[in-house]
């Protein structure tokens, strides 16, 4: 026998109260007992007074042609955010903006211990909504609720045009309310003004699959289309931190650049001046330099050529050859410089010096084979060859910088287009890009 406290008895399971519709005689189940103000007959859609023992008919409406099947059937039970709820009411509402009607659905959920909450659905976007526990402080452009600032999104008329099930208020088809939404994704703060009564509610965006999992519904939820007013975007949420990460990487890159510039040996291994003489043009032009040693780890080798050409060119066939292994790096470089004067003024192009960096050259004993060629009109010219071991290559940092920046720009563009889509449905729609451009063209 266990000496522990016996478990508490489970609360009695709620039982639906069975009644009949006074109009069509169909059975009506009352699920939220004394808390329902109205109940709608599922058969003839008469709105009945749930407080009246005889279920007096409050309103009849022709729903047959406007029947709307709830995606979550009435009576479905599920666990939403850890609490069991039953779907007891359903209504379709619409608002008309610039002659276009936008329809959405609201599901009323009930738990005898927790009370009511709502699910709204529009184009596959869902919101879990409950009544605010504190009165928000609202202005025209923003509202403050529990210390969080919500931006005004939209004010519109909401009309109820189809109801089903039970409601804790006197629901009517044709009911007209003014709804104002303030957003702070993924939350939406809404005020609903009906006559002189204002109700504030707070909603949080949910994905269809979460609803389907909660209520164990068959098939798949309808695909969400477009961007909803309080739909969260992981891209937008993380944008600031991604830019901060980019800034940190850029600083690291600068530190690397400074560090490698300091640590690079920049070891001069050859500095020679030669003379190109066309008088010896019939002889073999190519020659080799003295052997020089490249030390240290595998690194680059810079070859600089300087020739004081003026309206001429000189071309050098170079080969950096490893004396021991026979490995060679073969490249050609041109040094040319031209200038003059024409109707546009003075001009010049080319340079008297050239630089090339040979990548990843192992240590060893090397020599350069040089085969110069020159403009036939050039009688002769001196030229200087400088070879330096292990120099910093700043283009690498440029490429790394661009590689770091591109994803950030891409994600910023995604965030911008997402927010633009969101706000295009609001009372504060951004000006269309094409319209902005055409306005600029006109001016």
């Amino acid at each position: 026998m266990s000496a522990g406290t016996p478990p508490l008895p489970e609360p009695p399971k709620p039982q639906a109260k069975a009644l009949n519709c006074p109009k069509c005689g169909a059975a009506i189940a009352l699920r939220c007992f004394g808390q329902a103000e109205t109940v709608v007959c599922g058969s003839c859609h008469s709105i009945l007074d749930a407080k009246d023992p005889n279920l007096a008919i409050l309103q009849q409406f022709e729903a047959a042609t406007r029947d709307d099947k709830p995606l979550i059937p009435l009576g479905t039970r599920g666990k939403l955010r850890g609490t069991d709820y039953e779907v007891i009411g359903f209504q379709r509402r619409h608002s008309k903006v610039e002659g276009i009607s936008y329809y959405w659905h609201e599901y009323l959920l009930f738990n005898p211990y927790k009370g009511f909450r709502y699910l709204s659905e529009y184009n596959g976007h869902w919101n879990d909504i409950s009544v605010c526990k504190q009165l928000p402080m609202a202005e025209a452009s923003s509202a403050n609720y529990l210390g969080e600032i919500y931006k005004h999104f939209q004010t519109s008329d909401a009309n109820t045009d189809f109801v089903l099930g039970e409601f804790p208020w006197q629901v009517r088809v044709g009911e007209h309310a003014v709804v104002t939404d303030f957003i702070h994704p993924p939350r939406v703060l809404s005020s609903e003004k009906l006559d002189k009564e204002v109700t504030w509610s707070i909603g949080e965006y949910m994905y269809g699959r979460e609803i389907w999992d909660a209520f164990k519904l068959p098939d798949r939820p309808p695909e969400a289309t477009g961007v909803y007013e309080n739909q969260p975007s992981s891209v937008t949420t993380n944008l600031t931190s991604i830019w901060i990460a980019f800034a940190a990487f850029a600083i690291f890159l600068l530190a690397f650049m400074a560090g490698f510039d300091l640590l690079s040996k920049k070891d001069p291994v050859l500095h020679e001046t030669y003379q190109l003489n066309r008088a010896n043009a019939k002889n073999e032009a190519s020659f080799v330099t003295d052997v020089f040693e490249l030390t240290g780890h595998t690194s680059n080798v810079q070859v600089k050529t300087y020739a004081p050409v003026s309206n001429h060119w000189v071309y050098f066939n170079y080969a950096l050859i490893n004396q021991d292994t026979g490995q060679a790096w073969d490249f050609g470089r041109e040094v040319s410089y031209y200038y003059g004067y024409d109707s546009d003024g003075s001009w010049n192009e080319g340079k008297q010096k050239d630089t090339i960096v040979i990548p990843s050259v192992p240590s060893g004993h090397y020599y350069l084979r040089i085969e110069p060629e020159a403009d036939p009109s050039l009688p002769g010219i001196p030229y200087t060859v400088d070879v330096t071991r292990d120099v910093p290559v700043f283009e690498i940092y440029g490429i790394a910088f661009v590689a770091l920046l591109l994803p950030v720009l891409f994600i910023s563009w995604r965030a911008y287009t997402f927010e633009r889509s969101r706000w295009s449905e609001s009372d504060h729609a951004p000006t269309p890009i094409l319209q902005t451009q055409s306005s600029e063209d006109d001016s």
């Binding site: 990460a245 890159l253 490995q327 060679a328 073969d330 003059g340 192009e349 090339i356 590689a403 770091l404």
Partner: protein
């Protein structure tokens, strides 16, 4: 998700840049050859560069 990906990507980019700098990477195009005969040192004319016969720019506007 993207932030984690970007952090990983950023460190890889920095690592690649640092490794490239250490190993002496360069953007210049160089043609590599193997087994160039040792006789080139004594007879440079026996070697012909792949860049010989390059069409030279003669300049002028």
């Amino acid at each position: 998700m993207f932030r984690k990906f970007y952090l990983l990507y950023g460190f890889l980019t920095l690592g690649t840049a640092a490794f490239g700098q250490y190993r002496g990477w360069s953007l210049d195009t160089i043609n590599q050859l193997k087994n160039v005969p040792k006789s080139v040192r004594d007879n440079p004319g026996s070697y012909r560069s792949v860049y010989s016969g390059y069409h030279h720019y003669t300049g002028g506007k």
